[in-house]
């Protein structure tokens, strides 16, 4: 009886050890993946202040400046300028079909990479679900649609 109990206890300890190793390993894996892959959010003002994040994929967000949206001759590549409450802007290039509610003067979040010349090549433009949408990253900074639509 006592031996069995001992055994059960040892087994519990072994299992617990295994679980700790597994969870520890997972946390390490997660942290390293997070460090490499988490894409940070940049508003135009952030880029102006901190310089270009060239080493990783990032998200940018802001308002599409009125009159800045142009389609290239191939018919599927667009350029537009993203601005925020500061004079700073980001030039964005995107190849693809834009989300349904994407248009000039509305909020946008794009995922992609900065080029050394400062242009942003978006791999994806994130969808929004209503026409009064503002990226929450901007609303939290106290920016509202009326502030930035020029």
């Amino acid at each position: 009886m006592t031996i069995r109990r001992m055994k059960a206890k040892t087994q519990r300890l072994i299992l617990l050890g295994l679980a700790l190793v597994a969870v520890g390993g997972a946390i390490l894996l997660g942290m390293s993946a997070m460090r490499d892959q988490a894409s940070f959010f940049y508003a135009p003002a952030d880029v102006a202040r901190q310089g270009l994040p060239l080493d990783r994929a990032v998200r940018i967000g802001g308002m599409v400046r009125r009159g800045s949206l142009h389609r290239q001759p191939d018919g599927v590549t667009i350029n537009f300028v993203v601005g925020d409450e500061t004079p700073a802007t980001i030039n964005v290039t995107y190849r693809g079909i834009t989300p349904d509610l994407f248009r000039e003067g509305s909020g946008v979040i794009a995922e992609g990479r900065f080029q050394p010349n400062g242009a942003f090549v978006a791999s994806e433009i994130l969808a929004k679900h209503d026409e009064n949408y503002m990226p929450p990253e901007l609303t939290r900074r106290g920016i509202h649609q009326t502030d930035v639509v020029r």
């Binding site: 597994a22 997972a26 997660g30 997070m34 892959q37 599927v76 679900h129 209503d130 929450p136």
Partner: protein, 641 residues
């Protein structure tokens, strides 16, 4: 009038849940045996009343009663009836009412059908279920009353978000909720068993069918949601690691682990405390998911609420229930008997590894989903996207699939490594052959899809292996259930790997009359024409596609404009062939008469959802098999007595 009746029913149901909790708690004290018999009827009555209240809400939506604020804000008299009906839960208040309805109906189900559990544990379970219900009743009545009136009555409603105007709305939310909230039964069972110190094989056998039932719905709901996002959003993807998706995945992961650990508890009386813990975690994940999705901290088609007090309310409930259950666990865990021991090479050990991997995946999803929210709260913007989840979870999921080939072939208690190696040889060889084949035929395939394509055939063969040399007629149904569910995982894995390895995308601005090459297809752009709908108008592109000498078929993607609220949406057109899907979305037209068209050829993508449905079907077989066996045992027990 109907609205007031609905509200009254809601109040009545809420008071009954309070009664259920008080009576249940009182009945558990010694000497109060007379009370034991009242708790069940109260639970059933509560389920019936809240069900009626929910029907009242559906009625109001069907009638488009604009004097009800919720209807006026979210419905429209000219909407097709299906979306009036399903629109009842296509908004914050209605979806919370559905939430609590499922909770109470599940509790009523336990009160009606649960015959195996010890009576005091059953009463404790019902009391726990009522305690959860009470918090959410309070939430609905105080912070999101669906029956609020509006004065003056508007002439017309605001309409439903067009993205939700899809038959998927009738199916995906209720199914998901049955799973999501149904897991509450496992939570209440665990709390009940901790209270009455009844954690053992009999308890596990009683709990298992309820967990299975919820898990089947959850699996179907997630599968349906994934397919809906795939065809509705027009991005060609089927899983985006969006927080709302993760919110449904996390309870599924915990429930899957629970299903496997409860088997160890039922069969071998092992993993007692761990199983209880998982039951608590599974429903905690459901509640955290509810908080994420319904509190408005996320921007999503699922997030209806914008009022921050609502989020805070759910957060308080969440902390209370999870904290309470964990405290109870901490206080009572020393009364939970130690489980039976087992060898390192045994079925139990393989199930422990399954649980470890699932828990680790759960942890990674949890961190990836909540960490950005925490940093946001601290004023530091960070977003964690698909690259994180794929790198962190992909390898572990594949390792889990590999363990899945071995586990079902192992014997309970102890097994011989050498004999096991012999059994695993065929699937392993098959996987190696598949690996070689893909490397030779499709060099340059990324290593995750490559491993997925290699492991899937091995898992498929290994999942059928338990039927090897068995008399197929005498094989119990639940064994078939395991076989089908595991096979479904292999099928889905193959579909996912094939989709990410072989998808071909073509993006073009084309004029009518132009021939487009997309993957193996020749597509002729016939033209565009306007199409009227019930509450929208659309521009529809007509495309004739054919592969080689095959029969041509027509694709008709639409760009729709909904009337109220005026919103553009994109309707994809998808042709399903035996070996995959051709998927096309239409974008904008330009002044040169060109239209943006985006094609995807996705080989075997359908297997993803086919596999998901198989997993759920396997669960259903297992559920029926378990219930049949319970009944037979019961009869055998009764006969000699």
């Amino acid at each position: 009038m109907i609205a007031e009746a609905g509200l009254a029913l809601l109040w009545l149901a809420a008071s009954l849940s309070l009664l259920q909790l008080v009576l249940g708690a009182a009945a558990l004290r010694p000497g109060n045996d007379a009370l034991l018999r009242v708790v069940r009827p109260v639970a059933v009555a509560q389920g019936v009343l809240i069900g009626l209240s929910f029907l009242a809400l559906i009625w109001l939506f069907l009638r488009t009663d604009l004097s009800v604020k919720l209807v006026a804000q979210n419905s429209h008299s000219l909407k097709p009836w299906l979306y009036k009906f399903a629109g009842a839960w296509g908004n914050h208040e209605g979806s919370m009412l559905l939430w609590v309805t499922v909770l109470a109906v599940a509790g009523a189900g336990v009160a009606l059908f649960e015959k195996r559990l010890r009576q005091d544990s059953l009463i404790a379970t019902l009391a726990a279920q009522a305690a959860i219900g009470l918090g959410f009743y309070a939430y609905i009545l105080l912070a999101s009353n669906p029956f609020d009136r509006l004065f003056p009555v508007p002439l017309e409603g605001n309409g439903l978000n067009p993205l939700l105007q899809d038959p998927g709305l009738a199916f995906h939310p209720p199914t998901l909720y049955f799973g999501y909230v149904g897991i509450s039964i496992a939570f209440s069972f665990a709390v009940g068993a901790l209270v009455t110190r009844d954690v053992g094989p009999a308890f596990a056998r009683a709990m298992r069918p309820w967990v299975l039932a919820a898990w089947i719905f959850l699996t179907l709901g997630i599968t349906a949601g994934s397919y809906w996002a795939y065809y509705e959003l027009g991005w060609g993807g089927w899983w985006f690691w969006d927080p709302v998706e993760n919110a449904s995945l996390m309870p599924w992961l915990a429930a899957t682990a629970l299903l496997h650990s409860v088997t160890v508890l039922a069969t071998r009386a092992g993993l007692r405390a761990w199983t209880i813990m998982l039951a608590v975690v599974a429903f905690s994940m459901s509640m955290i998911g509810t908080f994420l999705v319904r509190s408005g901290i996320l921007t999503s088609v699922h997030a209806f609420a914008v009022d921050p007090t609502r989020g805070a309310f759910i957060l308080v409930l969440l902390a209370f229930y999870i904290g309470g259950a964990l405290t109870l666990f901490g206080l009572r865990v020393r009364y939970v008997k130690e489980g039976s021991t087992f060898e390192i090479v045994s079925r139990e050990a393989s199930l422990v590894i399954n649980n470890l991997f699932l828990s680790v995946i759960l942890g990674l999803v949890f961190i990836g989903t909540l960490y950005p929210l925490v940093t946001q709260a601290l004023g530091h913007e960070i977003s964690v996207g698909p690259p994180y989840f794929n790198t962190a979870i992909g390898p572990i999921a594949l390792a889990l699939a590999a363990v899945m080939t071995i586990g079902p072939m192992m014997r309970w208690r102890r097994d011989e490594l050498r004999a096991l190696a012999g059994r695993v040889a065929i699937p392993a060889l098959l996987s190696a052959a598949a690996l070689l084949l893909v490397v030779l035929l499709a060099p340059g395939t990324g290593w995750l899809p490559l491993l997925g394509l290699a492991i899937a055939p091995g898992v498929a063969v290994a999942s059928i292996a338990p039927l090897w040399r068995r008399n197929l007629r005498r094989t119990p149904l639940f064994l078939y259930g395991m076989v089908v569910a595991h096979l479904g995982i292999a099928v889905a894995l193959f579909g996912m790997a094939s989709d990410s390895a072989f998808t071909r995308e073509t993006l073009i601005a084309a004029r009518p009359g132009q021939i487009i090459e997309a993957g193996p297809f020749h597509i002729r752009f016939l033209g565009v024409e306007p199409v009227p709908g019930p509450n929208w108008t659309a521009v529809e592109a007509r495309l004739e596609a054919r592969r080689g000498d095959g029969a041509p078929f027509l694709l008709t993607p639409q760009a729709r404009l909904f009337d109220s609220p005026p919103t553009p949406t994109s309707e994809t057109s998808i042709q399903t062939l035996w070996d995959g899907q051709l998927y096309v979305a239409i974008g904008e037209g330009d002044d040169q008469g060109r239209w943006q068209l985006r094609f995807w050829w996705k080989p075997f993508v359908t297997l993803i959802w086919g596999g998901g449905v198989m997993v759920a079907f396997g669960g259903l077989l297992a559920l029926i098999g378990r219930l049949m066996r319970e009944r037979r045992f019961k009869r055998e027990e009764e006969v000699p007595a």
